[in-house]
């Protein structure tokens, strides 16, 4: 850690990991309700559990991004953060808002636009926190050295904060509501968040592989160009069946097909940098998470996204378990694993010690990734059967669901693996202080 103020990231990462724990436990409970539907049905209905699961995910990913920015911007800009106090104030506002949102969900106070259910005061709090963040990071950025990594990171963060404005715009007309709702949801995860992802991945590659900055920067521009060129008009793949004009079926199909390209580019980028790199960085777990993130993002967002993005296919699969399969693997690969890569890289420095406990950390990678992959497969099979029975044969929804029970049992099992992996990750980050396995003696060349 070169700059004292980078330490701010530590607090962000701690809160993020706490919410990560809540998120996966909420997911596990929701998965169990699919298996045993009477569980807590009057005390804690499924809709509340799901709100906690999705909201906790979104907030902890954002906290991870904010923390990553506070870690990365000083190092790239070669100066301390503009104001450490503002950074902590921002975190406090976000924590109070998050706890307030969860508390009000539990007593039944919430909005009803999916993922944007936060009460108005929480939404305003998020806006205030976002403004504080932008001011703080931008002033640091403007005063210091400007690199392509921070350039792209700043652009992604500014745009994602600006798009939050659409969280306040809720037209009475349901179709208009849906169209503008996607301005937040799609233009976050399939456009602006990709810029943040590319910037963080670029930073990690720079540090872990030792490849020339010049090479990395050129790659970054190509990646983010393909992300926005495909992702902006790719929003059209959400405008097929919500009352929007028919031409979106062609625009959405064509451009969202190209959304595979940035994810393929990020995967290629990560592997090529590692092959080209001469540096043998001791933090092997961070490298595993970085490569794993870009690979799983390619499959989850790229391949599983393409699977149902063409309008002729989506006409039948829209709103089935196929969507759930894609949602889980893409979020895990692109944003969860990337954040965990950043935590794994930064934590040893933030806690002022060598990379430690890599074995448990790497085990948690395989446990989580294996569990997530299995969950995706079971939901994909469930969704395929659902699509056929419900959309083609025309059987009623609940009759079809009753036939999918086995898949939901298997999904719950894979969820257990993910939760264990997540808890193991948090444990390896926070508790264990020594490497479990000592590396054996390495024969020096010429001996």
């Amino acid at each position: 850690m070169k700059y004292q103020s980078q330490k701010v990231a530590y607090a962000y990462f701690l809160v993020a990991m706490g919410l990560f724990g809540i998120q996966v436990l909420g997911g596990l409970l929701a998965g169990w309700i699919y298996v045993s539907p009477n569980t807590l049905s009057e005390l804690l209905p499924f809709n509340v559990v799901r709100m906690i699961h999705t909201n906790a995910l979104i907030v902890w990913l954002l906290l991870g991004f904010f923390g990553a920015a506070y870690y990365l911007v000083p190092e790239e800009s070669e100066r301390e953060i503009f104001s450490v106090k503002l950074a902590y104030l921002q975190l406090i506002i976000l924590v109070v808002g998050t706890l307030g949102a969860v508390g009000s969900y539990l007593v039944g106070i919430h909005g009803g636009r999916e993922f944007l259910e936060q009460p108005l005061w929480v939404k305003v709090g998020i806006l205030v926190a976002a403004v504080i963040f932008l001011v703080n990071v931008s002033l640091t950025f403007l005063a210091g050295r400007k690199t392509v990594i921070t350039n792209i990171l700043m652009m992604g963060l500014w745009l994602l904060c600006l798009l939050w404005v659409f969280a306040f715009i809720n037209p009475d007309n349901l179709s208009l509501d849906k169209m503008y709702w996607w301005f937040v949801v799609h233009l976050w995860v399939e456009a602006t968040w990709e810029l943040v992802m590319a910037a963080i991945l670029g930073f990690l590659m720079l540090k872990l592989t030792g490849v020339d900055r010049e090479v990395i920067e050129k790659w970054l521009y190509v990646i983010v160009a393909t992300a926005l060129f495909s992702g902006i008009l790719g929003t059209g793949h959400h405008f097929y069946w919500i009352g929007t004009p028919g031409y979106w079926q062609w625009i959405g199909s064509i451009f969202s097909t190209f959304e595979v390209v940035p994810f393929f580019a990020m995967m290629s980028f990560a592997f090529i940098m590692v092959w080209k790199g001469r540096r043998n960085h001791p933090n092997k777990a961070a490298l595993l998470w970085s490569l794993g993130s870009s690979t799983v993002a390619f499959f989850g967002a790229g391949v599983w996204g393409f699977l149902h993005t063409l309008h002729g296919v989506n006409y039948y699969t829209h709103g089935t378990q196929i969507t759930a399969a894609h949602g889980h693997l893409s979020f895990y690969g692109a944003y969860v694993a990337l954040n965990l890569a950043m935590f794994t890289y930064a934590m040893p420095m933030l806690r002022n010690r060598e990379p430690y406990n890599q074995v448990l950390n790497m085990a948690s990678f395989w446990l989580m990734t294996g569990g997530m992959a299995f969950m995706t497969f079971t939901l994909t099979f469930a969704g395929t059967i659902q699509t056929h029975l419900q959309r083609i044969v025309g059987d009623y929804y609940m009759d079809v669901q009753d036939q999918l029970g086995l898949f939901y049992v298997m999904r719950f099992g894979s969820g257990v693996a993910v939760v264990l992996g997540a808890l193991l990750f948090i444990y390896s980050m926070l508790v264990v202080r020594r490497e479990i396995i000592q590396p054996g003696p390495v024969a020096a060349p010429g001996e």
Binding site: I33, S36, P37, N38, S41, E42, P45, N47, V48, R50, M51, H110, G111, G112, R113, E114, E117, V148, D172, N173, L174, S175, L176, K178, M179, K218, W219, Y221, V222, A225, L228, F229, I232, L233, H238, Y240, W241, I242, G243, T244, P245, G246, Y247, W248, Q249, I251, Y316, H318, G319, T320, Q321, T323, Q390, R391, I392, G394, Y396, Y397, M398, Q401
Partner: protein, 150 residues
């Protein structure tokens, strides 16, 4: 990467291209906004009752179990066409009665069956919710869903 693609060229392509696609997107969205208000949702007036119904829909977070036009959670049936499925898409009184009857019977308490919670909804709000669902049902959704099963 080939030498013809220098860093500054890549940067210029990125900025220029992004601005271009944003402009196209904004133009198409503006046209879609007009199309939604004037054409696809114009089959039934957007009355105060429909507005209230949307509010009831949101306040109870129905979207986190059901899908509406295919968006939402996948835990409970699609409701964008529920009034068609119930055969009351053009019958306000019938729509209210069947919805009211269904919701008052929840939770069913049947073992092994997914449970819909009990919601505190006044008669006026229930009528509004029924009208909102009828209003959503008449939207031109490019013939989605493929059949009445939703």
């Amino acid at each position: 990467m080939p030498e013809i693609l220098t860093k500054s060229r890549a940067r210029n392509v990125f900025y220029g291209g992004s601005v271009f696609f944003v402009l196209v997107f904004v133009a198409l969205t503006a046209q879609s906004h007009r199309y939604i208000s004037r054409t696809s949702t114009a089959g039934m007036p957007l009355t105060d009752e429909v507005r209230l119904g949307k509010h009831v829909w949101e306040r109870n977070s129905c979207i986190n179990c059901h899908t509406l036009h295919g968006e939402g959670a996948y835990f409970a049936p699609e409701v964008g066409n529920v009034m068609t499925r119930w055969g009351v898409a053009d019958d306000p009184e019938g729509a209210y009665e069947i919805l009211d009857g269904w919701m008052k019977a929840q939770p069913s308490g049947i073992e092994g069956r997914r449970q819909m919670p009990h919601f505190e909804i006044t008669d006026e709000e229930m009528r509004a919710l029924a009208e909102f669902l009828r209003w959503a049902d008449q939207t031109n959704t490019q013939n989605w869903p493929p059949n009445d099963a939703g």
